[in-house]
Amino acid sequence: METFITFLDNIGFSILTVIVELVFGYLIIKNILKQIKVLLIASKMDNSLVGFVVTLLKFGMMLCLILLCLSTLNIPITGIISAISAATLAIGLALKDILSSVANGIMLVVNCPFKEGDYVEIGSVSGSIKELKLLHTVLTTPDNKQVMLPNSQVFATSITNFSVNKTRRMEISVNVDYAEDPEKVKEMLLGVANSHELVLQDPAPICHYNYSKDSSIYFFVRVWTKGSDYWTVNWDLNEQLTKTLMENGIQIPFPQVTVSYRKEAGK
């Protein structure tokens, strides 16, 4: 009995204390994390970032719980903290590229240069944003290929977002023979542009021309349309403009070269 009481006094109750701390500590951490998760979701934080923050907090809280249990058992934790710091440094150096991608991923989520569904051009890759993960950004190209770009690359290059503004301007160029009446052609082209139902009237379509080309008068038509209608208007207008010019007998020239021979004396 004496031995048992001595055991309890020396270490028994400490072990029981540690068990209580572990059990209740784990349950408390679990409940707190559930609440934090709901708060983060309600704050409209990005889903991938919510998961990351919750995992990070869980890891941190569990580490604190373990250190508390160790200190209850009178185990010196200074050495352990130093070892953990050294290990963290070594892991950080070894995984610096991955961590760089994670950090860039967080910066992308915080700065929001684009969101899911936006059509973007990142470097030489174009596509719709399918998902923004911590390590990668996933794009779906127009021909339905999936491209996964490392976030470090995304953050380091220029990003062109075609979806952020609701309207876009397009320019269609047409070349016409020098023999044609430019004002008549201009009126024709503007008529076609104004008659398309998807072309916006504010700003109104414009058409101008110049004589900068070798073989033709260069016309350009600028129209504004909704971003979602861009390609429909582009293809329609190209077809309709060409058709209108041909129906009205307007000559569309091809490059021509005039060759002249010079006779040399005596030959």
Binding site: G12, F13, T17, I28, K34, Q35, A42, N47
Partner: protein, 170 residues
């Protein structure tokens, strides 16, 4: 025996153990209380309870909008609208959290869309009263009530499906 008991209960380590146990139990009880209040353990049930409260607030808005001389109650009605918005946000938050873990649940997504539309309907009714528009607000509020009931039915259906899934996993 008594001597041993006295020795154990007066030892420092026992007192530390007892203090830790009491502290942990109290802390756990506090955390559990807040978890219960926020409804994170049973999101759909708590969301349903909040939708019931939302319906009560909508009823208050309806009463003040359809009373003769409703324009004179505009100030009170704006306060009721703030309550509607607050309760809608609380319900929406829980449904958002549920959808975070289960994105494909169409029933809950539809219920959330219905709940999110409630403040706009109440707002337009109050504006109608303020501008003395001739719209029949009783019909509008009847539709809104039936939509809220539909949202509740969808949540109950989602909850039953979750229970069945849990049973199948066992």
């Amino acid at each position: 025996m008594n001597e041993y008991l006295v020795r154990i209960t007066t030892s420092e380590s026992f007192l530390a153990f007892a203090a830790t146990l009491i502290f942990m139990v109290i802390l756990y009880a506090i955390v559990r209380y807040f978890t219960y209040r926020s409804g994170v353990n049973d999101l759909l049930k708590k969301a349903d309870m909040r939708i019931v409260k939302l319906k009560k607030s909508v009823r208050k808005v309806r009463v003040l909008c359809t009373t003769p001389g409703a324009k004179s109650f505009l100030f009170s009605n704006v306060k009721n609208l703030k309550t509607v918005i607050r309760r809608q946000k609380k319900a929406s938050r829980l449904l958002c959290a549920y959808l975070f873990d289960d994105r494909d649940d169409k029933d809950v997504a539809e219920a959330k869309a219905i709940v999110d539309a409630v403040p706009d309907t109440c707002r337009s009714a109050i504006v109608n009263v303020a501008e003395e528009g001739g719209e029949n607000l009783n019909v509008k509020f009847d539709e809104l009530s039936s939509e809220i009931e539909r949202a509740r039915a969808l949540l109950i259906k989602a909850k039953d499906l979750d229970r069945k899934k849990e049973l199948l996993q066992l």
